[in-house]
Symmetry: C2
């Protein structure tokens, strides 16, 4: 949601970051229509690969659907080694969860997980039960100035930074100045760096609706002005880097330093459950281990999540990771060779098919589901009004046949989306 | 943290809800001392009952410690039936977590869990991965007025409402008026109800540092003024009620109605992992299932949490629940018969031993740990400065010997805390 301004009765400019009432009023009809069409809040049971058994009740009576919704980009979320490691962890402790702050008592396996991830990602890694909570814990610390030498920075958000970041703008603004700039507007960010002695920039690494942050340009601003970067790379982890360090981390030097924090998911590409922060210094680690709010309350990842993540670490350190990264790249290329999107040719697994009308997008996603293909309808507030579309998550575990069938079905409904052959969209050898 | 006010350069009163820098500066030395003393961020492995193996590495070399920190009040967090149900759920889906919004795709078992809990608690129950996220999702909806007939309410917080509620004050204040009243100040709340047509009150059911909300008096204000209540009963769930509906829910009528939302934990007393909201109407449920932020992103409870909660539901619906509730009451009485606290005689499992000096509290908790008894040191910002103490969580699974030994050790260090025999503190037959 965009920031709005109004004059208060006292004549002073008050800025509003959120307008929940407006957002609900403007989108409720779309949500209701999508639910009525049976394409939202779907239930199912995981089977093999990217298929799931639709609905609840007896498995025999359920239809088999190929899923293009969940963000398990490397197809790891039902990997036997990860599932087995989750079970082993529970059995080793004969417990699932300890209800107490991480400042008090922690499962020993959680220490092992943090040490393993720290080694893999050349950073000081802290684990959380979700990325959303990792971000919640970080925002007040950024605002306090404790990460920038004791001086409160101006905190700048990318306009389309994920809601799990943007939610906290009023909390940050309660403690320091907050600015919002246009998406990836490096010039605007540089102007703010020139104007203010300390600037923090908050953005996604890979954006959940497509596209990325210009990490190289951000690093230049960091070198030039000491810009502090907070990058949520939930969607970029595991897809890039020799050990899956992700879109953002793989573009920073071996030593992360004291001006960069990267958040990432242990779900999504990583295939387990939970979230992490990659920190650069011992001081930062001490600060988070004392004052990150979720860290100080009972929201550690549960043991199944810890075990699954340890299982996934083994895969990330084996040749299987690059094989899966490559399989994903091939499948993305196959999709791109058939269906044209704004994302065509990039190496990310998210594709957005523009439809325009919300009603039409809902209808098409319903028809795809009837054909056994589950995709996400996207509409306001996720995208602008009248710019509804279909979001497709491609994974390394999709059968090539399933991708081709999805593309055929999409093109039947949206013939304009037929891809023109380009060198970029050809399948790599 | 208390709300602070200051005049802006424009002369208008700006209210600050958070002051992270101040809080850190005032408490950092205590945190550092407690970590140096080895009594914070402890690691361990669950063994049997309330014992755990301290540290990491080989199990043989670790000492056995009795834990009085974690909030598993009924001793369920390593109950064989709950642990087995967690494993069964993972095996049934051969997955742990689906990385996608609950508005998209859900495990069928999650639907079963929500239906079971709804039936047990006579409410429309939505499950979340943590109570903290359940609260995060609710706060903007409260502020928007969508839960109060489309009109924005004044949202009133109890001064010591849990940080997982208080954190969101600036977010709520960005959309509507926020007030903070003294702890349990019913008169102040009634004055606000008289002054404003729509008031929401946000409080804990059972406070994590002792004490409760006056639910009866709050219900009277609800009847008189239409007050909307949002009660976080994370610490009250399972301890009260025939099916463990908790401190708050058990004091409301069978039909929850359209003016009460209760948040609760599936960890703590419940013994699994995750959080829930108990809603009263279909409209509320539709609203949350569309617009609660964590619901709309990839933060569903993972399958191990869902399975464990389903296992705990079976215990909650059996005679074992009341047996455990009774065992807990007996153990609380034993503690109260030996050690005097402000909580003496109440039926809650949290006891706070006042020490005063932070250094002394840290030293005593360190000595207790050396004696094989792990308790929580509490200091600012959890309690006021100079009012440090020791927090003890009593559970149904503590051996009576262990409670007596803890009391003896506490009284050795704090002889003033010796209980005077009173009828309230006697062990029930």
């Amino acid at each position: 949601m965009q920031q709005q301004s109004e004059s208060s009765s006292a004549g002073r400019l008050i800025r509003h970051f959120r307008n929940t009432k407006y957002m609900i009023n403007e989108s409720r009809a779309f949500f209701d229509a999508a639910h009525a069409a049976g394409i939202m809040a779907v239930h199912g049971r995981s089977t093999i690969g990217r298929a799931f058994a639709l609905g609840t009740g007896s498995l025999d009576s359920r239809s088999r659907v190929i899923d293009f919704v969940r963000c398990s980009y490397l197809g790891l979320d039902n990997h036997p080694a990860i599932v087995a490691a989750a079970i082993e962890a529970i059995q080793a402790h004969w417990s699932l969860h300890w209800s107490c702050a991480r400042t008090r008592l922690n499962f020993d396996l959680l220490a092992e997980l943090e040490a393993t991830l720290s080694d893999m990602f050349s950073a000081r890694v802290l684990a959380f039960s979700t990325v959303m909570l990792a971000n919640l814990g970080a925002m007040p610390l950024l605002a306090s100035g404790q990460l920038t030498g004791g001086c409160k920075p101006v905190v700048v958000f990318d306009r389309i930074a994920h809601v799990s970041l943007a939610y906290h703008k009023p909390v940050v603004a309660d403690e320091t100045q907050v600015e919002t700039i246009a998406h990836n507007d490096i010039d605007a960010l540089e102007r703010l760096c020139r104007k203010h002695p300390l600037v923090v920039y908050v953005c996604d690494g890979v954006y959940s609706m497509g596209g990325t942050s210009p990490i190289k340009e951000l690093r230049q601003l960091q070198d030039r002005y000491g810009l502090f970067l907070y990058v949520d790379d939930a969607h970029g982890i595991s897809l890039f880097g020799r050990q899956g360090e992700g879109f953002a981390r793989s573009q920073f030097p071996q030593v992360l330093g004291d001006r960069t924090i990267i958040a990432a998911s242990l779900g999504k590409g990583f295939g387990a459950s939970g979230g992490i922060l990659m920190l650069g210094t011992a001081d930062q680690e001490d600060l988070f281990r004392r004052y990150s709010i979720p860290y100080a309350f009972s929201v550690a990842p549960n043991l199944a999540a810890v075990g699954a993540a340890l299982g996934s670490c083994k895969i990330h350190r084996s040749v299987e990771l690059s094989e899966r990264q490559m399989r994903l790249a091939q499948r993305i290329s196959i999709f791109d060779s058939l269906v044209a999107t704004a994302e065509q040719g990039n190496s990310l697994p998210i594709r957005m098919i523009s439809i325009g009308s919300e009603a039409k997008a809902i209808a098409i996603v319903g028809e795809l589901l009837n054909a056994g293909l589950y995709t996400s309808v996207t509409f306001f507030p996720t995208v602008a009004r009248g710019r509804a579309g279909i979001r497709v998550c491609i994974t390394a575990d999709h059968e090539v046949d399933d991708i081709e069938r999805l593309c055929d079905c999409i093109l039947e409904k949206v013939p304009d989306a037929t891809a023109k052959p380009t060198p970029l969209a050809s399948v790599p050898p």
